[in-house]
């Protein structure tokens, strides 16, 4: 009976009530975030998943009739005359181009972003803010406008070609527009800050006495970079690479403007299905495929990068 041992039981009850209250409070405080996660992320994603298993309606939209056709079409196509099944070459080449261009964009962004971030983090504290400010300025402009700016530089009559021709280095313009190189340049320009900022964030925390300790222990500049700096800023490298790779893979505006109609990427292919293609289930299936690729790539990357990874803190 509670009466036998009133003070202790009472204390336990109060503590339990406080715990319940605490848990209620937590759910209450988390509710706005949970609401957004559910209705803006998980919900729509679920709809996309469901649509990918339905039948396309004639003028866009879906007919509520289950079908695996869309998923079949992601990889295969049926010849319209003799019904033979072949690989969907177009899809595969677009998929390959997307992965390839995103990979190289990430790699080059890292190659440029790393020294940039290092430079900024080694400036005196006062001028670092100015450098960071300069890095973020492009964000203030609309993506489309930035992409057209790149076009202005690289098109046949653009600054780059005009300059080279004026200098007599080339006699006819180099075709950059509507090539994979153009798409990559565009993405590099647009996503480079996303590489620099997380890199800077982890380099700023880097204890430069560790760099000195490396030099002191007979490591030359390259060895200090490889054995001390890179392992210590690895979280920044991972974050920056993810932030560049993911939007590159799903890029839509950049390949559309700089790659023209021929050099499509996954984003354009998906858009095509929801627009002119009028095949929403295929578009949905491609979207899910894109997501799967991103997740697999992330898992491989984080695991390989994390193998020699230290635990922080």
């Amino acid at each position: 009976m509670a009466v036998d041992n009133p003070p202790l039981t009472r204390a336990a009850e109060v503590a339990a009530a406080a715990d319940r209250q605490e848990i209620r409070n937590r759910w209450f405080l988390a509710s706005p975030a949970l609401f957004i996660i559910f209705f803006a992320a998980i919900g729509p994603l679920f709809i996309v998943l469901v649509f990918s298993f339905l039948t396309p309606a004639d003028y866009g939209g879906v007919v509520w009739k289950p079908s695996g056709q869309a998923w079949f079409q992601v990889l295969f196509q049926k010849d319209i005359f003799d019904d033979t099944t072949t690989f969907a070459d177009a899809h595969l080449s677009i998929l390959w181009r997307s992965v390839k261009l995103s990979f190289f964009t990430t790699l080059i962004a890292l190659a440029f972003g790393f020294p940039t971030a290092y430079f900024i983090s080694t400036r005196p504290e006062k001028s670092r803010d100015i450098w960071l400010f300069l890095i973020t300025i492009p964000f203030w402009t609309n993506l489309l406008i930035r992409t057209f700016a790149v076009q202005e530089v690289i098109r046949n009559e653009g600054i780059f070609n005009t300059l080279l021709m004026k200098l007599g280095i080339i006699s006819s313009p180099i075709q950059i527009m509507f090539t994979d190189v153009a798409i990559m340049l565009g993405m590099l320009y647009v996503y480079l800050p996303l590489m620099v900022l997380p890199l800077y964030a982890s380099m700023e925390k880097l204890d430069f006495r560790l760099v000195e300790a490396g030099y002191d222990l007979y490591a030359n500049r390259f060895q200090v970079l490889r054995r001390v700096i890179i392992p210590l800023v690895k979280p920044g490298i991972i974050a920056g690479s993810i932030l560049v790779f993911i939007p590159s893979l799903g890029a839509y505006v950049t390949p559309r403007v700089l790659g023209g109609g021929k050099n499509m990427m996954l984003g354009n292919l998906i858009e095509l299905q929801f627009g002119q293609g009028r095949n929403w289930p295929l578009g949905a299936a491609l979207s899910i495929t894109l997501m799967a690729i991103v997740m697999i790539a992330l898992m491989i990357y984080v695991r390989s990068a994390g193998r020699s990874e230290m635990r922080h803190g």
Partner: protein, 369 residues
């Protein structure tokens, strides 16, 4: 002092006319100003001074993290000032240890040898040897974040000693440790220096640490070396007011030089007695001078003798092992006498009592400034 003795042993490090200026124009700071110092082989040499005196700057110039604005730094006769740190056979124990957080204890210790391209078997053997030297064998494969401050300190030492440097630089390595651990590490450092026979250059602002550990001390202030000498030299025979003040408690007394003979001067104190006082090398005292007397080098007398300074006790401070008597001299200045507490002694003195202060033989030293 430093120059005269340098012929005995080979010099490991020589700084010749070294200056270091940071910044430029109006913001320029002269961290070191025309410093000359010779550090001998196998010596435990301490750079002692308050923060901002240039001691760490001098250490960084020797390590190669900074380069001198003027002057030469020689390692066994060879000018190393233009060499990058990774080409100098000199290793550093950093103030915060600067252990690599992404490596184990063993990887930290082996890093230097690995960078020197030593074979793996040799590195492993040396790591074991080093872990044994600093008594850390059981922590070989721990992460550096998983060990205590004192243990990190030992790893930092082992890491710096592993490549067998010609000179080991220690930048206030004990300042982050608590009192007890610091005492233990002081003994540990002396033992390591003795066992390895490596020249240690130790930077500290802690005068007691300097006195207990060093073979020789250089006292620094505002980018200059004021005095170089053995702990006993520095403590008993400070050449300048700053040195006397910085190290230990000191009494300053004014007086006139009566006569100089050899390394001694006879001083008539304004407080009314005459004392024999030592003269620092190269000084030529005349006229008004200041002498220093350490509190424990004077004695308090209930019945003053003929050549004692007269005064009254203002305050008695009991310290356990000893007692400090704050005495106001009849001539004006204050004087502190420290007396060890023997059983039964010291109880006869009371505040306000008239007493005499007797300055011991060889206790006084004439300051240069």
């Amino acid at each position: 002092m430093g120059r005269a003795g340098s012929g005995e042993r080979r010099s490991a490090i020589e700084a010749i006319g070294v200056s270091k200026v940071f910044g430029n124009g109006d913001d320029a700071v002269r961290a070191l100003d025309n410093v000359d110092v010779t550090i001998r082989e196998n010596e435990f040499f301490t750079l002692l001074g308050p923060s901002g005196c240039g001691k760490t700057t001098l250490l960084r110039l020797i390590a190669g993290f900074d380069f001198p604005t003027e002057g030469e730094i020689r390692l066994y006769g060879e000018d190393i000032a233009p060499l990058p740190p990774f080409k100098r056979p000199v290793n550093t124990v950093f103030q915060n240890y600067a252990l690599f957080p992404h490596m184990t204890v063993a990887q930290n210790i082996g890093f230097g040898l690995e960078m020197l391209g030593k074979p793996k078997a040799e590195i492993d053997a040396r790591i074991s040897e080093m872990l044994k030297l600093v008594r850390m064998e059981e922590l070989r494969n721990r992460r550096t974040s998983q060990i205590s401050g004192g243990q990190q300190q030992r790893v930092a030492l082992a890491r710096a000693l592993a490549p067998r440097p010609k000179v080991l630089l220690l930048d206030e390595p004990l300042s982050a440790l608590d009192f007890k651990l610091r005492k233990d590490m002081q003994i540990e450092l002396k033992r390591l220096q003795h066992e390895t026979g490596i020249t240690f250059i130790f930077v500290t602002h802690d005068q007691e640490e300097a006195l207990t550990m060093s073979d020789r001390i250089a006292v620094m202030s505002k980018g200059h070396i004021l005095q170089i000498g053995s702990p006993r030299d520095i403590y008993d025979r400070p050449a300048e007011r700053f040195v006397a003040n910085f190290i230990g408690d000191t009494n300053f007394l004014e007086g006139q030089v009566k006569e100089v003979h050899g390394s001694k001067a006879r001083i008539a104190l304004n407080a009314g007695a005459e004392v024999e006082a030592g003269i620092s090398e190269g000084a030529n005292p005349q006229g008004n001078v200041t002498i220093v007397v350490r509190p424990e080098h004077a004695a308090i007398q209930a019945r003053p003798g003929a050549d004692a300074l007269k005064g009254t006790i203002e305050n008695i401070v009991y310290f356990g092992t000893d007692t400090h008597f704050h005495i106001k001299l009849a001539s004006g200045p204050h004087f502190i006498v420290r007396q060890q507490n023997r059983h039964g002694a010291g109880e006869e003195f009371k505040t306000g009592m008239p007493v005499g202060v007797e300055i011991g033989q060889n206790a006084a030293q004439v300051l240069k400034d």
